[in-house]
Amino acid sequence: MATNVEETYLYSSPTTFKVSSKDGEIFDIDDSFINQSKTIKNMLNVLDIADNHMPIPLQNIKGTMLNAAIVFCKYHKNDLLSIPDDEDEDDFERDAYEPRRSDDISEWDKEFIKQFTVEEGTLFDIIMAANYLDIKALLAVGCKTIANMVRGKNSDQVRQMFNISYDPPGEGLNTPRNSVTSKESGDNQLLTTQEKESRCKTPSPELMYD
């Protein structure tokens, strides 16, 4: 743990740093962001950056996403990292098999994540950004949101929601299917899915009880 103290010392002299996004926007970041983003933290450990430095280039992240991540970190600056880390197997304190819940997103986070949508792909952008910046809390919120969207839906609805092309097993990609099935909607889709599932040998909960 001694190294950590040293790290803190290293980058704590200037309180703000500058980062630049993929599309050239420049943002000021402060401790709240640095503490939560492991990537930035490590970067600052490696680089010796003085005051008035060049902005740190983050070539993978759009400006809007970076801005959102900074807002998120500012709000959560008082939270300690309570997100379980899967790779961290040494942590015996943690209940390793504690079920993950997707319904414990706080109200603020819910409002926050609403600005990102699947249609424009921004939801995936923010998840990718969180992954790249290694912000565990933001990544968890994004994953939970997608998990909530998937919850209780059948495979057809999921495909429709994420615009995934159906790729029937044993056939080529995007083989044209019977056009009649496209007319169905709502509950009728249940059966369409069933038919597909019956051709696919993957066990599905609905098939199991035939």
Binding site: P99, E120, E184
Partner: protein
């Protein structure tokens, strides 16, 4: 991913705030001049601003999303696409679920290969239990003479609905439709689908017709191990919220689908049959198809057709109609097998005879003190008093029009004879449902009865002959001509 022109324009517009002004003006001019799709190019060669798709997420993020998903949903999404399937097979996902359900302690007795199988078996058992709970109908054999449970109560309690599926010869789905309504009658319920003009467009391909029932089962996938208290280090404002939801069980509703029946379906023959009946004046032609399906079409433009399934005839699915199976102890046994298997000789039993069509009970009586003769394999039905359970008068039999819910078939189609035998413990020992033919007896052999109906019910194993005699508005009897008094009627079953 499909990049449609609208997406392209929307993205370029929304991004123009952040992009420098020169590119945004370039975009404007280009989009005003060039219309998408371009006349020569079917697709844009490249995307100017690439919007993310879910496939752009790397596998480890996908995996961490899947960690938040409950086992049933995990099974569902594993068939979304090949990549998701591959990711969802990850052993760590299922291993985690096995541990969180506390199943790892039990696996010492059962040898299984993968954690996924353990989860599958657990879910299977769980849904079985839930379904049994749904259909655990306590039946009173005395009040419901045929052993048919209160269908209305059962079905409404379980939030069940039905789906009809038309399949082609390779059993691919052509059309599926949820039922429009379920009508409950005294003796049965029928499921109906209306407004099905779409059916008629593809009828030549239809080969199979299936009936599914879909019930919603509440799944509570709360693991045995309760979640630990949220650490106090979580920000204060969210703590009460977190505490609230961590104590709630993790509920979700799973739809369980069950195939009830399947028929080979020849629409052409049905059309042919209906056209022969064209001289009938009814607007709707009704056809029986197999024994429990009715098909009706409008005469005029054939835009309206319907299907009706009769519950009573259905070979009920084991899981869905557990309650029924419990009472129909001998439903698969023929009457002669029943006689040989159970020593009822000289025992006094009660026999219910119910004479009905799909809608109305015309005649129903409980014959106490009946005798079963296993030596001659016959039932002697002796009735001393017949004072109750008389249905509506036979001669004012309503015509069954499917729009007005009135009967429109012929008498021969529709009559059903139920025989229910109760043993001395008043449990249902045997139930038989036989389609019956009825002819009006014109010979006027019965003195007190001006309208006698001959009943002629026959299956492969059972043959029943007898007469229905309407004695007055309140009294009716079923029996053969004999020398006994009118209060003592005999009915003999021949094998």
């Amino acid at each position: 991913m499909l990049t449609t022109p609208t997406i392209y324009r929307k993205n370029s517009h929304s991004a123009s705030n952040s992009i420098s002004s020169s590119t945004s003006t370039l975009n404007k001019t280009s989009s005003s001049k060039v219309k998408f799709p371009l006349p020569n190019a079917t697709k844009p060669r490249y995307r100017v601003i690439q919007s993310k798709h879910i496939h752009d997420l790397p596998d480890d993020i996908l995996l961490s999303i899947f960690r938040y998903i409950s086992p049933i949903d995990l099974l569902n999404i594993s068939i979304v696409c090949r990549r998701w399937h591959a990711v969802s097979q990850d052993e760590s996902l299922w291993c985690r679920l096995v541990h969180s359900f506390g199943l790892h302690q039990k696996t010492s007795t059962i040898k299984t290969n993968s954690s996924k199988e353990i989860i599958l078996r657990y879910l299977h058992d769980h849904i079985d239990r839930e379904l049994n709970k749904l259909f655990d109908v306590k039946l009173d054999p005395l009040s419901s003479y045929t052993g048919i449970p209160d269908l209305k109560r059962t079905l409404e309690k379980s939030l069940m609905y039905f789906i009809i599926a038309l399949l082609d010869e390779k059993k691919n789905l052509l059309f599926s439709y949820r039922n429009d309504d379920v009508k409950y009658f005294e003796t049965c319920a029928t499921i109906r689908w209306y407004n099905s003009s779409e059916w008629l467009t593809n009828l030549s391909i239809v080969k199979y017709i299936r009936l599914y029932a879909v019930a919603e089962v509440n799944m509570d996938t709360r693991p045995h191990r309760l979640r630990r208290q949220a650490p106090s280090t979580v920000a204060n404002k969210d703590q009460t919220y977190l505490a609230k939801i961590t104590q709630q069980p993790y509920r979700h509703v799973q739809k369980v689908r069950s195939l009830l029946d399947e028929y080979e379906f020849k629409w052409s023959s049905i059309i042919k049959n209906t056209k022969t009946n064209e001289n009938s004046q009814s607007l709707i032609r009704v056809n029986t198809f197999e024994s429990d399906v009715l098909i009706g079409i409008y005469n005029q433009d054939q835009t309206f057709c319907f299907l009706a399934w009769n519950f009573v005839y259905l070979k009920f699915h084991k899981q869905f109609f557990n309650g029924l199976n419990k009472t129909q102890l001998s439903s698969s046994v023929t009457l002669s097998q029943f006689f040989t298997s159970i020593a009822f000789d000289q025992a006094e039993v009660s026999v219910f005879i119910c004479f009905r069509n799909m809608r109305t009970i015309f005649f129903r009586h409980r014959f106490r003190n009946s005798k079963l003769h296993s030596s001659t394999k016959s039932i002697e039905i002796i009735s001393v008093q017949m004072t109750h359970d008389i249905g509506p008068q036979i001669e004012i039999l309503p015509k069954f029009n499917w729009k007005t819910m009135l009967f429109n078939g012929t008498l021969d189609d529709m009559f059903i004879l139920d025989i229910v035998i109760l043993n001395d413990l008043k449990n249902v020992a045997y139930v038989a449902t036989i389609p019956a033919k009825i002819q009006q007896n014109l010979s006027q052999e019965f003195i007190l009865s001006s309208n006698a109906w001959t009943i002629n019910a026959q299956t492969e194993q059972i043959k029943i002959e007898g007469n229905i005699i309407k004695l007055s508005d309140e009294y009716a009897a079923l029996g053969n001509e004999n020398e006994h008094s009118l209060h003592l009627q005999n009915l003999w079953c021949h094998f």
